[in-house]
Each structure stands twice: as structure tokens, then as C-alpha cells.
């Protein structure tokens, strides 16, 4: 049996701006539970040097807060962006993958776990609703790490992603 896939979890956001720190919160909480070969990093924002951090990994999970029109969490595959749009100093996960392709000629498979945020004021701590969403995100993260270690990143399909999200959200509803 070969070595397990090398995976990296990249949580990003500003914990000083309430729910914007949701991705960092989940990355920090999962850090101590992770098996060998899986690494975690967190920062205020993604930027082009993160291409260097992820390019040689077998799988990448980005975790970020979101203002998207959904409830709870959303898990999706990341594809390289064709149009790069970032403000001065931040890049999107798709931009990072595109940078991997252009700079290093390869890119790892990657997924984005979005956590619905509700409040963005200048305070530490998550809103109650987003803290709940982070609980689900934590379970989903643990589940996807376990799945990829056992089955490899190529086995992650859209059906698997849906099952993982359902798993996280169902647990949340049981705990309410």
C-alpha cells in the first residue's frame, strides 16, 4: 500500500471581522485532529505565493466565509479561473489553481468549502448562526480528509460532495 495522499487545508479570512474569520476558525480547529501527511495553513487572504504551497499536494481543500445565497455550507470543486480577478492583494482559489498551471505547469485537485457568514463588523468571534455553520464545516472537513486518504482524490465525485454536505448539515440539525 502506497503513501496516503498529501493534502493541504487552506483556511482564510480575517478573524477580527466576525464571520470573515470562519475559514480560519475551522482550519484551526481541525489542525489538531489531522493525520500525518495532511497540513493546515491559514492567513488573512489567499495570494499568489499560495500556489507554491499547494502545487505539490495531491489534494487541496480551501475553506472560506461566504456571502453567497445559500444556507449552512457549500462544497464544490475548484477549477482554474479563465479570467483572473482579484483586488490588490487577494486571489480566489480558482486564481491560485490558474497560477499553479501558469507558473509550474501543473495543479492539484481542489475543493472549496464555503461557510455562510452573516455579520462582518470589526469584532472578534463568530455570529451564532455562523458558529453553527462552522460546526458542520468541521465535520465535513474531517469527512473529506478521511475519504481522500482512504480512496484518493480521484474518487471524489459530485455525488460524494453532496453526501458530505448532507452529513454535516444533518448532524447540525440533530444538535439543534
Amino acid at each position: 500500500m502506497g503513501d496516503p495522499p498529501r493534502m493541504i487545508i487552506c483556511g482564510f479570512g480575517n478573524p477580527g471581522r466576525e464571520d470573515d474569520g470562519a475559514g480560519v476558525a475551522v482550519a484551526q480547529r481541525i489542525e489538531e485532529q489531522l493525520p500525518a501527511g495532511t497540513t493546515v495553513q491559514y492567513d488573512y487572504q489567499l495570494n499568489v505565493e499560495d500556489a507554491l504551497a499547494v502545487v505539490d499536494k495531491d489534494a487541496v481543500l480551501f475553506i472560506d466565509a461566504s456571502v453567497g445565497e445559500f444556507e449552512g455550507t457549500r462544497l464544490s470543486e475548484v477549477t482554474p479561473e479563465t479570467v483572473i480577478n482579484y483586488s490588490t492583494h487577494a486571489m480566489t482559489p480558482g486564481g491560485i489553481l490558474r497560477a499553479c498551471e501558469e507558473l509550474y505547469g501543473r495543479r492539484p485537485p481542489a475543493w472549496l468549502l464555503e461557510i455562510k457568514g452573516h455579520s462582518w463588523e470589526l469584532r472578534e468571534g463568530l455570529s451564532a448562526r455562523t458558529a453553527k455553520n462552522c460546526d458542520a464545516a468541521l465535520r465535513i472537513t474531517a469527512k473529506i480528509v478521511h475519504f481522500i486518504r482512504r480512496n484518493g482524490p480521484a474518487a471524489v465525485t459530485s455525488t460524494i460532495l453532496k453526501e458530505m454536505m448532507q452529513y454535516g448539515e444533518e448532524k447540525n440539525s440533530h444538535n439543534r
Binding site: N14, R17, S66
Partner: protein
Amino acid sequence: MPRKITIEPVTRVEGHGKVTLILDDNNNLTQSRLHIVEFRGFERFVQGRPFWEAPVLVQRLCGICPVSHHLAAAKALDVIVGAGTGNGLTRVGEKMRRLMHYGQILQSHTLHFFHLASPDLLFGVDADPLIRNVIGVAMKHKELAVRAVLMRKYGQEIIRITAGKKIHGTGAIPGGINKNLSIAERDLGIKGAEGIPSIDTIVSWASDAVELFKDYHAKHRDFIDSFGAFDSNHLSLVRSDGALDLYHGVLRAVDAGGKRILNDVDYQDYLSHIAEEVRPWTYMKFPYLTAIGKENGWYRVGPLARLNTCDFIPSKLAQREFEIFKSYTNGKPNNMSMHMHWARLIENLHAAEVIRELLSDPDLQNDDLVVKGTKNFEGVGLLEAPRGTLFHHYRIDKNDLITMCNLIVSTTNNNEPMNRAVHEVAAATISGKAEVTEGMLNGVEVAIRAYDPCLSCATHAVGKMPLEIAIEDLNGVVLDRKTRN
């Protein structure tokens, strides 16, 4: 019919900004305004908090340059804990902070030039926006882009080993620092590691970057010398002997011709020399030198201003480039906005040289981290952040709670110059033209980006940063709208 053109928000500028251009019936520019939604609620937010929390709290202001706010706050609080006004720290205390600060300068200047400025320089202002970004640079100039990634990574490693962690670092505390540099951390900085270049390599690459600009300048002299150029005053800290110093010094200002208008004053007394004007159409204030007044007392800060105010650069390679830079204007202040990029790259080289020198300094392994003295109830901390002079001013009460906070950030200092730059470029490229092209609009953005404004908006969650360009008539009716996602 008169038209109002709005560019909102400005691309590749942190947070949100909006440019409004009003043209008359003949398409001549009648007015231009750069609106920046500055977040000033922070000054109220810290009131009532214990003062020792400030160096960590202020990092919430900005996810881009948290180190600058962290250190400026710590410098102000040094005064409050009786640790002097910049020269009272232990050797390890001051040098660790300097190392952190120059690491921040290196990573920020690298980011700005390679990711913001070089796409405009390499592809031209009129180029397709789809390639005019860092990926475009990567596709056409792969080695350059790969170097930029590694240089930025190196700067961030320097911050990590001095601040302790990437988010909400705690390296600087009132009166000193909370850690020194271990031998392992020192060796990482000097020799590098897998994926992290050595400091000698960084110095070499920083030197190459200056050459890259000079080469471009030689081929595009008209554009670089004339684009957004205008006379101004210049303000920055300088070391007491006139040297470039980005961490500490005295305040100096010169006018467009080089005449000294603020003569190396103690920044604890900045309110005697600088005031802030409020204008009704924007939240962001307009600082000015009180000795000259509101009308003509505005000034530029940042790399260009710093090379205009200082007498020399105290590192060998950067000093050599400084002499070339100064000779281009016969020793007079340089008022060409696009030369900001040149100045920034010379500073970047200086930052790399300073890091190299500090890493070999045995003082960084000393254990006397903090000093304390007689408590004061007010303190001012200034430093030269990547984008320019940053002011932090606090007052506390007898319970050690903050009662007043005043911040003047670099972008606020550059408010009037950025407005002037927008006007100059718009007048030259848009005024009198019947059709406004993408290239013209980008030209306005290029002028703003030379100042690298930071709009204090670290919140970045997915969906928060679309780009929208709207063309409106005078009644606010949108005539055209372009969105980049």
C-alpha cells in the same frame, strides 16, 4: 449633454473606491474626484479597551499590512509605558522590530510591483484586461513571476519568525518584543530552505528588479516621465542624520523644488505641523502642512516622497541606485508619479540589504526583550509603511483604558495627490474624446495604483469584491455598466 463617468470600484485596489469624471457638452473634463470609503470606525472601536491590546487589535484594520499597524501602535505605546520615543528599546527589541518591518516592506513592495505595476508596464495601459494581471505576467515572463512568488514568500517568512504567527501576530509589545530570533530562525533567513531562497538570492533578485525597471524606462521614457506627473510637496520620516529609515526618525518635508518646509521635527508634536481638512463629498480627510495652509500644504508620502526627502540610503547597493535616481532630476525632488515604481524597487533592494545585515547581528539572540519606565498618558507612534507615513496617536486614562485614538494612514496622506493624479491623467487621455475606451479608464486606474492605496477593507469573503464600471449621466442614470468577476 454633459456626462458623468463613474469607475467603481477601482480594480486591484484593496477595498472599494470610485472615480467620478464629469464631462461637459464637448466632452471636456470639468471635474474629477476619487472617492474612497475609508473605515474610520476603528478609532471609536478601540476607545475603552486596555492600551496593551492595541498592537493586536489594530491588525484588524487591514489584512494586507497588519505589521505596519502592529508596529506603529507598539511605538506609540512605548511612549506610554515610559520606554522612550523610539530610541529607548533594548538592542534586540529595536532590531527585531526592524527585521519584522523590513520583511513587511519586502513582501509588500514585491507584491505591488510584480502583481500590480508590472502588468501595466509589460503589457501597456491599453492592453486587454484579460492578460493585464499577474497571470498574464506568468504566461509571458514565467521566470519573473516565479521569482516574485519566492520573494514574497521570503518576506512573509521573515514576518513569521519575528511576529510569531501570520494572523494577529504578537511580536511587538509596549516597551519591546516578546521573542528574540532563535539560531534556527536566523539560519532559515540566511540560508533559506526548500521553497525559500537564501537572503543573498533575494538581494540579487531585488537588484535585478531595479534593472528591469530601468530597462523599461529607457524604452518608454515619455510615458514613464509624463504619465500623471505633477509638482507636489513630499513628506516622510528620515533618520536624524538624513538617511532613509523606514522604522524610525524625524519628520521632514520638502517642496517640489527641494526647499525644506518641515525641518526634522519630533513626531510626538505632529499636531503642531499637520492638520486634516474635511470635504463634503468624501469620508476621507485631506491632511496638510499647517505652515503652508489648506490650499497648498498637501503632500505626497510613500516611496517617491521618501527618496525625495532623504539625503542618502544606508546600504551599498540601494545607495548606488539612489544616486542614479537622484541624478535623473539633477538632485532635485522627483515629481513624476510613475517613478514611484522606480523608488519602490530601490527601497525593496534596501529592505533586502537591511534584512541581510540584521540576520547576521548577534544582538537578535539577546534576552533583554522589554524595558519599562515612568508611565505617560499619551503617545504617538510613526513609521514608514510600504505606502507611506503611518500615524498612530493614543491617550489613556488612569485605568489604562484608551480614551482617544487618531490614525492617519498612508492612503489618507496621499488623498489629494491621488486626486491630482486622476485629474492629470483624465485631462490628458479622456478630455475632448467622444468615446471612452477601456484603455482610458485603465489609465486612470494606473495612476491610482502607482500610490498602491489601501482602503482598509480586509473583509474579502467570496462574493464581496466584484468590479463594476458604470457610466452615468448627470442625473445618475446608468448609461453603461461593465462588471469584471
